[in-house]
């Protein structure tokens, strides 16, 4: 059995039917950063040397690998408290520690942002299900932006795009009911599932998208206002930030996976092994609660790209969407795009009956 998620294929532009010219920015979002980070070989070796000493300390303490030239954790990191309960000074220290470790580990200047939520901001998301063509550029952009693991053994994707069949109605099957013995038919079998049901296929692999017999529904963390995952976490490592996103302190998580059990949207992912994040592909602009590199044995998920959104940028998935299906903004601002959508369009929430109050809305024009 292949481990964890089957990766989604990156569809090339030719495969994108009917949206030529719209998706070109898709692969280029990190271009500005990519150029600046190539380090010389000498530098690379020096970094590795410096790191292995640190990694041995961590390894001795934590029984983690010492054969990789990466420091997994240090003693100080191991003893640090729950991020939310740290003082300003402790937070700054933790961040400095991480910046140092990541910079050594990835051979480039890595920043770990600690920006707090702004007053008067509540992030919300709206997705136009009518427009989505199932190209999964959002998935790929998210992986890239958020430093997800990308090895064969551990392919991590926070967004999954569900393919919904349009259903099949067939005259031949109309009489396939049960039981037929007494001449009274109690059920029919005339159609297979159709419409928005949460049984979508998310391993679809077509030549071209969109496929004529399907429509698509991307899902990710719904950033619930009443998140069940936060309620079940035994050590308060996952919590709702004041500006909306539900975040995880990766350094405090014990990996019990209660949150994975409690999430009605299957939005959370677990680092079953040590994440594999190639040095050259690593996004060095990180946030403590967002896209900083994770370690094995902890849970992760979408954070509305708070390393971007807290600085006024769009999440990577919004930026990359070639058809403009994804909208993002401040729910507290009546003039924001997302609020206008909520005011004017036909909006629904996934599994509204779970009463979790998602801040991720779906709509149709």
């Amino acid at each position: 059995m292949s481990k964890k998620l089957i990766p989604t294929k990156n569809l090339s532009d030719e495969q994108l039917e009917g949206c030529e010219g719209l998706g070109l920015q898709a692969l280029g979002i990190d271009a500005e950063r990519g150029g600046a980070v190539s380090s010389s070989r000498r530098q690379f070796i020096r970094n590795v040397g410096g790191v292995s000493a640190a990694s041995m300390m961590g390894a001795a303490a934590l029984m983690t690998h010492s054969d990789q030239a990466q420091a997994k954790s240090t003693w100080a990191e191991w003893f640090q408290g729950n991020y939310r309960l740290m003082t300003k000074k402790e937070k700054a220290e933790a961040i400095a520690r991480l910046e140092k470790r990541y910079s050594e580990e990835y051979g480039k200047k890595v920043t770990v942002d600690g920006t707090d939520a702004q007053e008067g901001v509540l992030f919300g998301y709206a997705l136009n299900i009518q427009k989505c063509i199932g190209c999964r550029r959002c998935v790929k952009a998210c992986v890239k932006e958020n430093n997800q693991s990308r090895s064969k053994e551990q392919e991590m994707e926070w967004i999954r795009v569900l393919k919904m069949e349009k259903g099949e109605f067939s005259k031949d099957k109309m009489d396939d009911g049960y039981p037929l013995d007494y001449g009274v038919q109690v059920g029919g079998n005339a159609y297979s599932a159709a419409g928005v049901v949460l049984e979508g296929e998310h391993y679809y692999d077509p030549e071209k998208v969109p496929e004529s017999d399907s429509h698509y529904m991307p899902i990710a963390c719904m950033q619930c206002e009443k998140p069940p995952c936060v309620k079940v976490c035994p050590i308060r490592t996952t919590y709702r930030e004041p500006d909306g996103p539900v975040v995880i302190d990766y350094n405090w998580c014990i990996g019990c996976r209660m949150c994975i059990g409690a999430c009605p949207y299957w939005a959370r992912r677990f680092n079953w092994g040590e994440p594999h994040l190639p040095k050259e592909e690593m996004n060095p602009k990180t946030h403590y609660l967002g896209n900083r590199p994770r370690m094995k044995g902890v849970v992760e998920k979408c954070t509305f790209c708070l390393q971007r959104t807290r600085h006024g940028r769009y999440p990577a998935c919004v930026e990359v969407c070639p058809v403009g299906a994804r909208k993002f903004g401040n729910l507290l601002d009546p003039e924001s795009e997302v609020r206008r959508i909520l005011d004017r369009k036909r909006v629904f929430r996934l599994k509204a009956e779970a009463n979790t109050y998602p801040k991720f809305f779906y709509f149709v024009d």
């Binding site: 014990i254 299957w266 779970a354």
Partner: protein, 407 residues
Amino acid sequence: MNKFIKFIIDYVVYVAKGGPKFYAWMGFLVLFVGPWIYGSYTQATHGLIVTGLTDQVSWGLYLANFVFLVGVAAGAVTVVFPAYVYHHEPMHKVTVLGEMLAVAAVIMCLLFVFMHLGRPDRAWHMIPYLGVLNFPSSMLTWDVLVLSVYLILNLVGGFYFLYKKYVDEPLNNKFYLPIIFIAIVWAISIHTVTAFFINTMPARPMWHHSMMPIRFITTAFAAGPALIIVCFLIIRQNTKLWIEDSVIDLLSTIIIFCLGIALFLTMSEVVTELYASTEHSFALKYLMFGKHGLHDLVPWFWTSVVGMVLGFILLLVPRIRKNYTVLPYICLMIFGGVWIEKGMALMIPGSIPTPIGEFSLYEPTTLELFNCAGNWAIGFIVLTILLKGAIGILLGDVRYAPASANR
């Protein structure tokens, strides 16, 4: 203090010495420890990726065994309760054995929890005052608290009793009886909380029903005494400690009642779920008949049903119930049946399908099986030691002798 040190020394010396049967049994158990060390080390270094767990099925055998063993730990109350509430005299004499079983079972629970955690090195985050507990919201927090208190209650209660017996002093009932009665209530609480821990998740419809706690209790009070009967019969045959027939008979009667209710509850669930057959019944259908071409749990489920139903029917017949040659096998059958029912037949289909309707397979890896077997073996090593020590003291083989150094 001298007395106490002597108690420890005498206890250890007595426990370490035994006949060929004892060494053979312990040797057999130790065989599983080698693979366990290898398995645990590999998992600690590589992470849970060495298990068959996935993002789809993220709770597997470790948690399944944990849930079952919480029940076994709670099941010890079937010895304590009749002894202290109904004043069942023969049972009273061997109460401490029940407490020892509870201690061993909780230790196994802890081993399984540690195996389940992605970051066992951070387990200190769950220690009150050192870490940050999400109390009272998180059911896992509750579980940690009630289980550790239960362990302490049984350790203190059991060893206080043994120590007093050892030094031949009367028990201080003002200290001892409250522990016993609190432990009785606590036993119910540990399994109730363990049920709440999974049934408070609407995202997993198979678990999300209010019948879960009582089903947990009834199956626990079937599997627990089943194991106790087997232990007691082995003790009767291999040691000088005679356990009265009335003890065994009372325990098998308890099994009948509890297993009967458990089967009734299972039947109620099957009817409730399958009659209307909403999407919420998919997990149960997957378990009972297989779904979407996946049938891996079907044989397990039906084996468990056969074990429990057949065991129940056989126990109903007094002649069979009182035949102590057959009884242990029936008990093992029930124990196995409940182990499947509470373990893989409950924990695994709970995750299948996933909340977005995906059906997937969970196949434990060999390493995972090594680790599970090792945890069980270690648990039984602990259980054997605890029971042996307790029996030695109950028999008076181990007692305080101030004058001579070796007794």
